[in-house]
């Protein structure tokens, strides 16, 4: 017998999506966006959209999220775009770039400066959609066993710093070094390496780096790390239009919420660190070093742009946008902050 489904019943159909995170269980503020998004989507859809989250402890493949979402083993992922640089080089530009935009500037670029369109252009061939997934804000430059007073001090510096930032440092003679996370503490303590880059105050203090390294350098290489919601396009297309809208809205709100939560927690953690560990010496690279790093960075980006048309389009778009919006940041934020000095 034919079963008749009324339109009302059809509207009540529950869609279940599975989401894989790159992060382990309880990974501080990184664990928030996926959960908040799932919760929002579920409530806004009156229970019609259910999103189940698996952490890296369940799927055991932190950096397999791209492949698993692409193949449809998961419908969604929560990760960061620059992790896929080895697979799709142009994904590098949608997280954060050394000497690039701040979180606010970058959100402006994503939503009003053409960033989203360019990101879709990169992900589309892989049957994927990518959305901003929350921003950590400026990340610290890392823990150092020795002071960096000149470009020469970078020569031979053994530092755990993965990805593109490592490439920039390598151009100035530093030695990016692979160390498994479990051995970072011992390696920095025993000076097997001279420096390392981790996340920011909250995660860094958990690792105890402040007990073994005297210098904590301010950031230059990740001015606003944007996480990412990855969505399998087929899974997305299967959703009715209203649920698609609910899902995108939930992702956008969750990303925004993590950005402010991260700002809040960084502030709290910084205060705690200053109070409890007054011996940690906070330093910035001298202007000479920063200038050299910038130059190396620009040269590398020029190479990227020369090698790939889409890379050029993205980098030009970012540079152009930043050229405009940074003037406003200078007049607004910087001038305001300067008024306190």
């Amino acid at each position: 017998a034919a079963v008749l489904i009324s339109p009302a019943q059809a509207a009540e159909k529950v869609y279940t999506l599975k989401l894989a995170e790159t992060w382990p269980t309880n990974f501080g503020v990184f664990s928030e966006p996926a959960r908040r998004m799932a919760d929002l989507a579920n409530k806004m859809s009156n229970g019609r959209l259910e999103i189940r989250i698996d952490t890296a402890n369940k799927h055991k493949s932190a950096f397999g999220v791209f492949d698993m979402v692409r193949a449809g083993q998961y419908d969604m992922g929560h990760s960061a775009s620059y992790y896929w640089k080895g697979k799709v080089p142009n994904t590098l530009y949608f997280t954060t770039m050394p000497f690039g935009m701040t979180a606010t500037e970058q959100y402006g670029w994503f939503y009003y400066g053409g960033g989203m369109e360019l990101m879709q252009k990169v992900y589309e061939p892989f049957n994927l959609m990518s959305f901003p997934g929350g921003n950590t804000g400026v990340q610290m430059g890392g823990w150092f066993q020795k002071e960096i007073n000149s470009v020469e001090d970078l020569e031979g510096l053994k530092m755990r710093i993965p990805g593109f930032a490592g490439e920039v440092l390598a151009k100035l003679g530093a030695n990016p070094t692979n160390i498994p996370p479990g051995e970072l503490y011992t390696s920095l303590e025993r000076r097997t390496i001279d420096a390392l880059e981790w996340v920011g105050p909250s995660m860094d203090l958990r690792m105890g780096f402040h007990k073994i390294a005297p210098y904590y350098y301010t950031g230059w290489h990740e001015p606003g790390t944007e996480l990412q919601f990855l969505v399998n396009k087929r899974s997305f297309d299967k959703l009715p239009a209203d649920l698609q809208e609910i899902l995108t809205t939930a992702m956008r709100v969750a990303a925004y919420d993590m950005t402010i939560q991260s700002y809040h927690e960084s502030g709290q953690n910084w205060a705690t660190m200053k109070a409890e560990f007054p011996n940690v010496e906070v330093k910035s690279f001298p202007p000479e070093v920063l200038a050299a790093l910038r130059k190396a960075n620009d040269e590398l980006l020029a190479e990227h742009a020369a090698n790939d048309e889409l890379a050029k389009e993205i980098l030009d778009s970012q540079a152009e946008y930043m050229g405009v919006v940074r003037q406003w940041t200078d007049i607004a934020d910087r001038a305001y902050l300067n008024s306190f000095e």
């Binding site: 382990p24 309880n26 479990g182």
Partner: protein, 429 residues
């Protein structure tokens, strides 16, 4: 419930004697496909790749190779025999030496498979040669090979530090005293046991023509120093910042070849044969890891975790009651869930309650770490037992190993209880 059924089916299947690795894998396959369809196994390559990329695990083949070279060149045998003789008339000298060497290896790696297998290769043949009771020999090796869990650097402490938000350095420091006491307890147990049961661990025969006691000591020291120096170089390279803990095991492997060269036992044939043996032992260990990852995948994707979470979310009792029950739960779960899973899945469930009850986090972490160490030894699924079986000579049966570890498990439980009752003594509160 599928997870629980799967566990019992695997248990029964293990008994038929087909290789453990493929029982884990095969049972996971049938239950996984039944519950979720074959596509669940599309996750396997990802999980396997995570094992392949886990460079900390490189310590397994590297230490195994060091052990095999030391064994082939008879340097390990001389080391243990000489240490045993140094203990003179003391019975159980070889077993005590094994504990001490195990403690040294533990201080350079946190990978249990690495030290159990290396110790199995180095000291089991020697103990058997001198007619040690098989059970005592196996228990001693499994227990001292598992010390790497609690003695820093230790993977479990790093994971717990991460999960519980405690600086790793604090945990490393806190683990030293309990670890030392555990070593002491092993030694005291061996002394008492061999005093009561002399035939279990004969004192090494002293050759009459060996001269005076002084000369004997001198001779023994001469045999001890080179291999011991090798182990100290491994440790020293970590402390001097020359190598990471994992890399230090490669220094051990190359150093063992260097010793072979010095003692004129080096040949490329020997290197090749040792490498082939290393491959066999390493593949045995990793096949178990491959099967186990399929097993834990099927367990968690069929909802096994939720069942466990449900039972743990509401443990009753005050601070002491909570601690006792949670330790008991972890001990039981340790029979069949991997320690990494326990740290990441079970500990976060227990943590909020622990905080409310005002239990010091470092204390709680050390208790959990000690407890998880025990899970490596608990029959029938304790991985240390499989690893030792994999390298043991034919006359050693699974049952010898199972029986042998029981007293050491009891010792560990006793120490966990002492930490539970007297945290002040261990400086944990």
């Amino acid at each position: 419930m599928i997870g629980i059924t799967m566990f019992f089916v695997a248990l029964v299947m293990l008994l038929i004697g087909f290789p453990v690795a493929f029982i884990f894998g095969g049972v996971a396959l049938w239950f996984g496909v039944y519950a979720e369809g074959p596509d669940m196994f599309a996750f396997m390559p990802f999980r396997i790749q995570s094992i392949m990329e886990n460079t900390v695990l490189m310590a397994v083949p590297l230490f195994v190779f060091m052990g095999i070279v030391l064994q082939k060149t008879r340097l390990a045998e001389q080391l243990l025999e000489s240490m045993g003789k140094l203990f003179g008339g003391v019975r159980g000298g070889l077993a005590i030496s094994t504990v001490l060497v195990g403690a040294l290896l533990a201080a350079s790696t946190g990978v249990v498979g690495a030290s159990v297998v290396a110790m199995g290769l180095i000291s089991l043949p020697v103990m058997l040669k001198y007619n040690y009771d098989k059970k005592l020999a196996c228990g001693t090796i499994c227990a001292s090979g598992t010390l790497g869990q609690i003695i820093p650097p230790s993977i479990i402490l790093i994971i717990l530090g991460d999960v519980m938000g405690i600086p790793v350095g604090d945990l490393f420091q806190a683990a030293i005293l309990p670890g030392a006491i555990l070593i002491g307890a092993y030694i005291i147990y061996i002394l008492i046991y061999t005093f009561l049961k002399p035939e279990a661990a004969p004192a090494l025969p002293m050759d009459m023509d060996d001269g005076t006691r002084k000369q004997q000591v001198y001779k023994a020291l001469k045999a001890i120093i080179p291999p011991l120096a090798l182990i100290l170089v491994v440790l020293g390279s970590i402390f001097a910042g020359i190598a990471t803990p994992t890399e230090s095991s490669a220094l051990g492997g190359v150093g063992a070849l260097f010793l072979a060269l010095v003692y004129r036992q080096f040949s490329w044939k020997m290197v090749y044969e040792s490498a082939a043996e290393t491959v066999k032992v390493t593949a045995m260990v990793f096949a178990i890891l491959l099967g186990a990852t399929a097993f834990s995948m099927a367990f968690s994707y069929t909802g096994g975790e939720e069942v466990v979470e449900h039972y743990l979310s509401n443990l009753p009792g005050g601070a002491m009651g909570f601690l006792l029950l949670s330790m008991l739960a972890i001990l039981i779960l340790g029979f069949f869930i991997d320690f990494v899973e326990i740290s990441f899945i079970i500990v976060p469930i227990l943590l909020p309650a622990a905080e409310v009850l005002g239990i010091a986090p470092v204390w709680f972490a050390i208790l959990i770490a000690m407890n998880l160490q025990t899970s490596f030894l608990t029959p029938p699924f304790g991985f240390s037992l499989f690893y030792l079986k994999g390298v043991a000579p034919p006359q050693v049966r699974t049952l010898d190993i199972y029986k042998g570890v029981v007293p050491f498990i009891l010792l560990q439980i006793a120490i966990v209880i002492s930490i539970l009752l007297f945290p002040e003594f261990y400086g944990l509160v």
